[in-house]
Amino acid sequence: MNTLGNSFIAAYELIARADPTLLAIIGLSLRVSLSALFIATLVGAPAGALVAIADFRGRRAVIVVLNGLMGLPPVVVGLLVYLLLSRAGPLGELGLLFTPGAMVIAQAILITPIVAALTRQVVEDAWTEYRELLTSLRATLWQAVVTLLWDTRYSLLTAVLAGFGRAMAEVGAVIIVGGNIAGVTRVMTTTIALETSKGDLPLALALGLILILLVMLLNAAAFATREWSAARHG
């Protein structure tokens, strides 16, 4: 049997017996990326909605920059956060470098623009429909933001999911600021990178399979939610 086949069998065994190392790595991955997503949504969704409906000078420039930031290279974000958090850096005293906290910060920076830019698109579409009603009802800017975010919540799932997918899948930022320390900052992607270069393919492959499976499941759940909401709310 070839290497690929053997690796698949070994990977299956790791998953089947719920290998503790494997579970710890998956757990940390989810914790870091979900925390980053939470922060990104808290900041990015209202910011995106605000850009969608507020009328201010330089709005177009903000939109262009926001869309551009969706493509931020993870390694560059990792490097910047590294410089910020390193001993000599401005936030060095926090002692966050090489901790999951640093990884959350890096991923949050990476995906906040994604959540914001996609939210901006969704909310802007809704705003063209709701604008006259909300103006007629004398909604304040903030009331309009809250209303639009709530009314587009199912469409926004896609934005949030795109952010989560990006966070889970990136390796460049977390490997720099986390350091890939076993049992502390080792997540799925950094493990895959490391184990592959060491030649331990089964663990890498098992993690790869689970990563794909997780992303698939989340997308399926989001799809089902949107279908359900379309049927219920129109």
């Binding site: 009603l133 007629s136 004398r138 209303t147 009314d151 219920r232």
Partner: protein, 243 residues
């Protein structure tokens, strides 16, 4: 009808429109419109598609800012008149019918404790109690527009502005919407609505503001208008109408 109109109009001027113009790009959509409306009536802004009726209504409501000219509403007991507007396509939020009404009340700074009662009252007046808990966006076109009316009604407006509220509806739904408008008027709200439908204007109007290509060509009591319009544009419009 004429005498009643005059009596009510004498009670005070509700709205003065002075030399109102609105331009979008290089197009003049409203051209030096001037008229005034008395209190208590149902005014129908009549005209063909694209005449500038909707623009006029939006200027009156403050959704558009005039290029030049003025819109001055009277005050009621020292406060600004409460206005509500209903649109051609009802804009309903993705929540229940009831929640749509409560949403408007909350934005209107109605005390939270009073919202539910007022919403239920408005829904029952509009004959929509049976759909109060249903999701607003899956209702039929007629129900959606009546819900938009109920939402406006709940705000207890002094003036209700309606922009072609039945343009997308079948005759039965149109009749129901017209009945609801009549009841809102009977409840004390001043009605200003646009339509291109002569039959509807006949059924609802106390007075007619006729708009043609951005100009107000006449403002006359409905009985006078339908007996014989003064402006050539209105005569042509009435001749062109399919009976």
């Amino acid at each position: 009808m004429d005498e009643k109109n005059t009596a009510r109009a004498a009670a005070g001027t509700l709205l003065r429109v002075d030399d109102l113009c609105y331009e979008s790009g290089s197009q003049r959509l409203l051209d030096h419109a001037s008229f005034s409306l008395g209190a208590g009536l149902r005014t129908v802004v009549l005209g063909a598609n694209g005449a500038g009726k909707s623009v006029l209504l939006r200027l009156l409501h403050g959704l558009l800012q005039p290029t030049s000219g003025r819109v001055s509403w009277a005050e009621a007991q020292g406060r600004a008149l409460r206005q509500a507007m209903v649109f051609q396509r009802p804009v309903l939020l993705r929540r229940s019918a009831m929640a749509n009404v409560i949403f408007a009340l909350k934005l209107g700074r109605v005390a939270a404790s009073a919202c539910e009662t007022r919403a239920l009252t408005a829904l029952s007046h509009a004959g929509l109690m049976h759909i109060a808990r249903r999701s607003a966006r899956v209702l039929s076109g007629g129900e959606q527009q009546r819900l938009a009316l109920a939402r406006a009604w709940a705000l207890e407006p002094d003036v209700l502005l309606l922009d072609e509220p039945t343009a997308n509806l079948d005759p039965t739904a149109t009749r129901e919407v017209e009945d609801t408008i009549m009841r809102i008027h009977a409840g004390g709200a001043r009605i200003v609505m646009t339509t291109h439908n002569l039959g509807q204007a006949r059924r609802l109007a106390d007075d007619i503001v006729f708009v043609h290509q951005g100009r107000v060509t006449e403002h006359t009591p409905a009985s006078t208008f339908f007996a014989g319009p003064k402006s050539a544009e209105a005569v042509a419009f009435m001749q062109g109408e399919i009976p």
